[in-house]
Amino acid sequence: MQWEVVIGLEIHAQLATRSKIFSGASTAYGAEPNTQACAVDLGLPGVLPVLNAEAVNMAIKFGLATGCTVAPRSVFARKNYFYPDLPKGYQISQYELPVVHDGEVILELEDGGTKRVGLTRAHLEEDAGKSLHEGFEGVTGIDLNRAGTPLLEIVSEPDMRSAKEAVAYMRKVHSLVRYLGICDGNMQEGSFRCDANVSIRPKGSDKLGTRTELKNLNSFRFVERAINYEVERQIDVIESGGEVVQETRLYDSVKHETRSMRTKEEANDYRYFPDPDLLPVEITEADIERVRAELPELPDAKRLRFMEQYQLSAYDASLLTSAREVADYYESVVTASGGEGKLAANWVNGELTAALNRDGRDIGESPVTPESLGALVARIVDDTISGKIAKDVFEAMWNGEGEPDAVIEARGLKQVTDTGALEAMVDEVIAANPKQVEQYKAGKDKLLGFFVGQCMKASGGKANPAQLNELIRKKLAD
């Protein structure tokens, strides 16, 4: 039997507001437990929530960037359940009327094609606190610093057909929220995390199979692995005559497996109802237009512009626009190089990316500034150094030896373009290799490369290769 995989994702993006969604407490990460939880976050008797308008603006931004309808009226509801790190005994979320709904995300596939993933909705809600088990004997610690942190829960349609597509979608959303400046995307700190709904069905069937929900997927790698594991598990279950049970499963990244947390029968009845402490969120056309005017250029538009403006391939443009920081860095390089779009792209996607990957750094942590890299590109273009020497200069810059001109000067890497000096070098090489000269003259044209190589070696790589070619050809023709 051929199986088709059906995947939908629920992404939780922590919104980058300074204060919490319903209180004035700070959202900064990493403070001492319970030092960033005010009376409202603690759920003390008598306290009331007040909506942070910035969180709503951020949700509108996301909605506009994904072609969603922004709801003129959305409603906060209470999701009721008991848990020690949920101070009020309910989470304030949106249920029937989310702030934005019915949008889409377009994925560029490796084969050059595209794929549309529908967005069912994105809604605002508050995060819970954390239960701490390590370092406590016989009790559980509760840290409520995270309680009340604003989240945007982004729910996709079950449109993805492989773990790879799911990851591509997640990356795209990750890039988008960072472009919009609404989420720092830090997956280690849990600012961007996802649950996956996974089911399988016989290829060709249009009926959805029973799904399981995978929790705790906090890296792109885990999403891919967990889904692949789960797909195999479901196929095994069905092919050995069993049935998939609708349940929530936890992904264990150490054992690399998913295991059952709770089945549908054990699931909570959340008893959603509109939160009477909060008014409906009313968003006017004017609000939407105001937010629209604040939108930055989005990845897709930027990619097309890069292709057009800098004559880049779709591949290069898509690499450069995968993150806003990379795109901004690239454009600074272009400016500093005097408008060398293509060469700048090669350097950013080539040497720079390789060096970043090698040292495990983000582009924001690059020791080479875009201005310096632009200056280096300019030196290649003006023939001060060759592209090959430039790689050495780049390494030196990476290691903190300074600006490109200083490195070139200090290491004496300036390209030799003086015809007199080059001629003397060529004469020497010709004199030292009479046998090869004879062969060349006898018609073995390929030996030109040999002479160029010898001259280059003699110059310590500093000779201008084009000039050298020209000179050697001329000399040997005499």
Partner: protein, 489 residues
């Protein structure tokens, strides 16, 4: 220091006495404390008497007056219903659950009264989490009605009502979710006002049913209620449902002429279930108003019979969620030696909550459950809309509505304890007002069966000034509100 006896004075009279230097705030405060701890103690009206806090505040008020910094209400004693959080002083909400709870912050209402210079004497007894109509549901025992200590004072603000009626304090705060200010005010023969929903901030008021709860003043006259509401009302950004609208000077429009005012008498408020003697008292009040030039006309609030059923879905639904925070984890009662998390929840809540609170949590949880939500909660919300529409239509024809506050006078302690539905019917005329978010008042209008009867005045949204004006003019031509229970005169 000699004790002055000023307990029979109203807030307005005390303000004048303090301003004239006839007595000090400390003298007033000592007099009240002495009555609370002495003659008043048998009423069980207070959960906590904050003697030291009160005397410190009184002395401070006196110093401010000496410096010429006193406001109108400076130095006047006041009691808060124990549902308002008070920084450093226990806030029990009438429950074992919060018997050990000391709030780290003040409620908005507490802050406002403190800013006005009023001296808080203590926290008054109440039905647990404001759920009750007789004050018999308190962990601290029932409050007794000063007019007859075998009778209930009404509820849930029974402690505040009894304390004011017995002249232990000149004024107190209350909260009203379905009648909890007006019904005990009626049963204890005092004046109480439930403002428009959103007029007074709910911040720091322990929530029972968030869409219905509203704080208001309880005192001996409409004039006092006007002065207190001026201090209490106002915008507070910490309560999203609090309305940002200027607070009128209610005390300045009390004397306005009532001539030509059109008042509606809802026929549903005068039908079956209304005690005949209570009806006669209300009829007499209508006659007084006629003499003041008021025109009456019969109106119909046709969905009145649906108010109690709708209320007993909505209020429990909201309370079932509001009371989830009392889980034994961060504050409040925690059971001894919990075996595990579930045991902690079950025993802490099982031990901490009383029977009526549990009943409402169960009803509310059921009403919100998957499969029942539409049939109960949504339906009740639709009924709520109809009830509101009835009122708004009526206010197209009349300026205010008048009727009895409660169908009967105070009943005997224990009389309705075993019959929750009969107990709920005590609020049959008040509940609809909460569902519609309207302001409502109860004004003493006489006696039936030897116990006080309250007259209810209902106004359009934010029309508190008119209600206070109507009540004040009535109190100028009647003396029911000046009557004191003999034992506490």
């Amino acid at each position: 220091m000699d004790t002055v006896s000023v307990h029979d004075k109203t807030v307005a009279e005390l303000a004048a006495g303090l301003a004239a230097g006839t007595y000090s705030s400390e003298e007033l405060t000592r007099d009240c404390l002495q009555r609370i701890n002495g003659i008043g103690s048998e009423l069980n009206a207070f959960v906590t008497v904050a003697e030291e806090h009160a005397l410190t505040a009184a002395r401070e008020a006196d110093r401010r007056r000496a410096r010429g910094e006193a406001g109108l209400l400076s130095g006047i004693p006041l009691a808060h219903k124990d549902i308002f959080c008070t920084n450093g002083i226990r806030t029990s909400c009438g429950s074992r659950m919060l018997d050990n709870f000391i709030s780290p912050y003040d409620a908005h209402v507490v802050e406002r009264m403190q800013t006005a210079g009023m001296v808080m004497l203590g926290k008054t007894n109440m039905d647990e989490f404001a759920m009750g109509s007789s004050n018999e549901n308190s962990f601290y025992g029932p409050v007794k009605n000063p007019w007859d200590t075998t009778a209930v004072p009404g509820g849930s603000s029974g402690g505040s009502a009894a304390a004011v009626a017995a002249r232990l304090v000149p004024a107190a705060t209350g909260t009203d979710t379905g009648g909890s200010i007006r019904q005990p005010a009626a049963m204890c023969g005092i004046t109480g006002l439930k403002p428009t929903y959103g007029r007074v901030s709910r911040y720091g008021m322990i929530a029972f049913a968030s869409s219905l709860d509203q704080a208001g003043p309880m005192a001996r006259s409409a004039e006092d209620c006007a002065l207190l509401l001026e201090a209490m009302a106002g915008f507070d950004s910490r309560d999203s449902t609090c309305v940002n609208q200027p607070v009128p000077r209610y005390s300045e429009t009390l004397d306005a002429d009532l001539k030509g005012l059109k008042i509606g008498l809802p026929k549903e408020y005068f039908g079956e279930g209304l005690d005949a003697e209570v009806a006669r008292v209300v009829d007499a009040a209508i006659e007084e108003y006629r003499k003041l030039g008021v025109e009456f006309r019969e109106i119909s609030l046709r969905n009145t019979h649906l108010a109690v059923p709708a209320y007993y879905v909505i209020a429990p639904a909201e309370c079932s969620s509001n009371l989830s925070r009392f889980d034994g984890v961060r504050f409040g009662h925690r059971c001894e030696n919990p075996r595990d998390l579930e045991d902690l929840y079950k025993r802490s809540r099982g031990e901490g909550f009383g029977a009526e609170v549990k009943r409402r949590i169960l009803v509310g949880t059921y009403a919100l459950s998957a499969g029942y939500y539409d049939a109960y909660y949504l339906k009740a919300q639709k009924v709520r809309r109809l009830i509101r529409d009835d009122f708004l239509a009526a206010f197209g024809e009349v300026d205010a509505i008048l009727g009895p506050t409660s169908p009967t006078v105070a009943f005997n302690l224990g009389e309705r304890s075993d019959d929750p539905v009969k107990m709920y019917l005590s609020d049959i005329y008040t509940i609809a007002v909460n569902l519609a978010g309207l302001p409502g008042m109860s004004v003493p209008a006489g006696f039936a069966h030897g116990r006080p009867v309250g007259l209810q005045l209902i106004g359009n949204h934010f029309d508190e000034a008119r209600l206070l004006n109507m009540a004040h003019r009535y109190q100028q031509v009647t003396d029911w509100h000046t009557r004191a229970p003999e034992a506490f005169a």
